[in-house]
Amino acid sequence: MNKLQITNLQNKTKLIFVLLLSSIFATPKGQALLTSYSLLAKQIYAQEAINLSVTPPLFELTIAPDKEVRQIFSLINSGSDVYITPKIVYFVPSDEFGNVEITDTKSPDWIKYDNSKVFLKQDAKLDLNVVFFPPPDLPETDHFLTIVFEAENDNLDTNDNLDELDENKNSSEYTTQIASNILVTVSKDGNPKKAAEIIKFSTVKIADSLLTPVSYELVIKNVGNSFWKPNGKIVTNNQTLKLAPQNILSNYSRKISCIEAETLVPCKLDGKPFIGLVKANLEFTTDEDPKLYRAEVKTFVFPFSVLVIFSASLLTLLRYKFIFKLWRRRD
């Protein structure tokens, strides 16, 4: 075989392998293989980052005294190696949007969990088993808690490691807390008193049918003994807005959004009549309780912008007509 024939054979062999590789990477497994190689390069960078996720992000429990429930809270570390210290503390609502202010008050003794520091490597998961076992004589009340996972980087320097003459180490190091909220109702019969007060259900009184969106602001207060979710809707002439089942804690208010396909949205009408009165009827219950809470607001809709534009155009036309007449008289 001469040199040219050898070269052609080599080229044909290469082409076959290229086609073979193309067919491999065209398949889902092949693409997963390519992705895993690229992620490997990214993982080398991610080892220097903090990346934590916790599930479930919210846990709700109604429990009778002298009963026991266990729940696992999982923490996944997708960043650099860290030390994790869990703690469960009480929180208070900080606003009307469901945000919390965690306190220094620790959880009661009947909530048990292992609070020792744990070393969590990258891509490792911590499953924290929390046991709820209220004693027989515990008063029937709510407990608002947050489970906080405190993360310290593996290389966090303490003062003992500092070299005070090394000016190149001026730095700020990070610690991180990631949390999940726990709402507990202690109830002997599972039917604590639930009651609501509509603090605000309002909208604009007059709206431009072309320019002004008609949206509803709803604030509800929980005047009962236990947290609950509003179960209801806002019904207008031609649209129904479903209320988001957001928790309202006892003795606190919350601004309630609407929901559309599992997404929180403002309570806002998509369409409205060109001219007319839009009545919006609010109705909801507290969870599955039978008592129905109602309220109504009205909006008068009119195409004011169209009227303004028409009037301005007419005035302009009349003005120029008047000027034209004056000009003709002068002539």
Binding site: P57, N170, T263
Partner: protein, 245 residues
């Protein structure tokens, strides 16, 4: 030389082919139950499946309905947000584990940044708060780089412009998604809430609605005068990420 190149090429292709043909394993979660207790494993993704038994069905959306009425079981549990069908984890990440300011020269501000990402999976709002254990200080605590007062005045809850190279201290700026409104430009800075003074952590990111992959950049700034004693200045910044209830 050409033969060596060909050999390397064929060896690489063969190796990839063998790896491609290898199988992958998937670990599955289980549910443990006894007459005295039930351990509930949350779903980590929508494909994890919903546990069930012959006596009841566990629905991760609506939570568990205990076998029998409350009077016999004595509890009801719900995990996740009730208007989202899957239990979606709450995630928080920062691009670094520390910020190294290097050597500090007088009247020469140093800046550096980290990226913060929050994902609440579209289920409710969140807040991220930040605070420092104390101002930047030396090992023996004798010398401190104070928290900035910006060009005029700023605090841990109100940002102000900081552009002068003769105004000293340590502060931060926020830019990106869901940041407080007082960060009107990249020149606006706050000081960190100082826990050694009893100050509460301040909000640096928040949203009352969906929180799906929201990203912001925190930019630190340090500036010292020629009167600042030499030394290694350090502190610890704590970030707290909390979902809404």
């Amino acid at each position: 030389m050409r033969k060596i190149k060909c050999f390397v090429f064929y060896l690489t292709a063969l190796t990839l082919f063998i790896v491609h043909c290898s199988s992958f394993t998937v670990s599955a979660q289980e549910r443990i139950e006894s007459p005295n207790y039930r351990i509930i494993f949350p779903n980590l993704n929508s494909g994890a499946g919903i546990p069930s038994s012959s006596s009841y069905i566990l629905d991760s959306t609506l939570g568990q309905t205990a076998p029998g009425p409350y009077s016999s079981s004595g509890y009801r549990v719900k995990a996740g947000f009730q208007y989202v069908h899957s239990i979606i984890p709450f995630s928080f990440s920062i691009s670094d584990v520390a910020i190294n300011f290097g050597t500090l020269a007088p009247n020469t501000p140093i800046t550096d940044s980290s990226t913060i990402t929050i994902s609440a999976g579209g289920a409710g709002g969140y807040q991220v708060k930040a605070s420092e254990n104390n101002p930047l200080k030396t090992f023996d605590g004798a010398n401190t780089i104070p928290d900035t007062l910006c060009d005029t005045t700023c605090s841990e809850i109100l940002a102000a412009s900081w552009t002068s190279s003769t105004k000293y201290g340590f502060g931060f700026n926020m830019s990106g998604d869901d940041i407080p409104a007082d960060f009107t430009s990249t020149d606006y800075f706050r000081q960190f809430a100082d826990r050694s003074l009893g100050e509460s952590p301040s909000i640096i990111m928040s949203s009352n609605n969906i929180g799906r992959s929201r990203t912001a950049t925190i930019t630190y700034k340090v500036n010292t005068s020629n009167l600042q004693p030499a030394g290694t200045y350090r502190n610890i910044i704590t970030f707290s990420a909390i979902p809404s209830y």
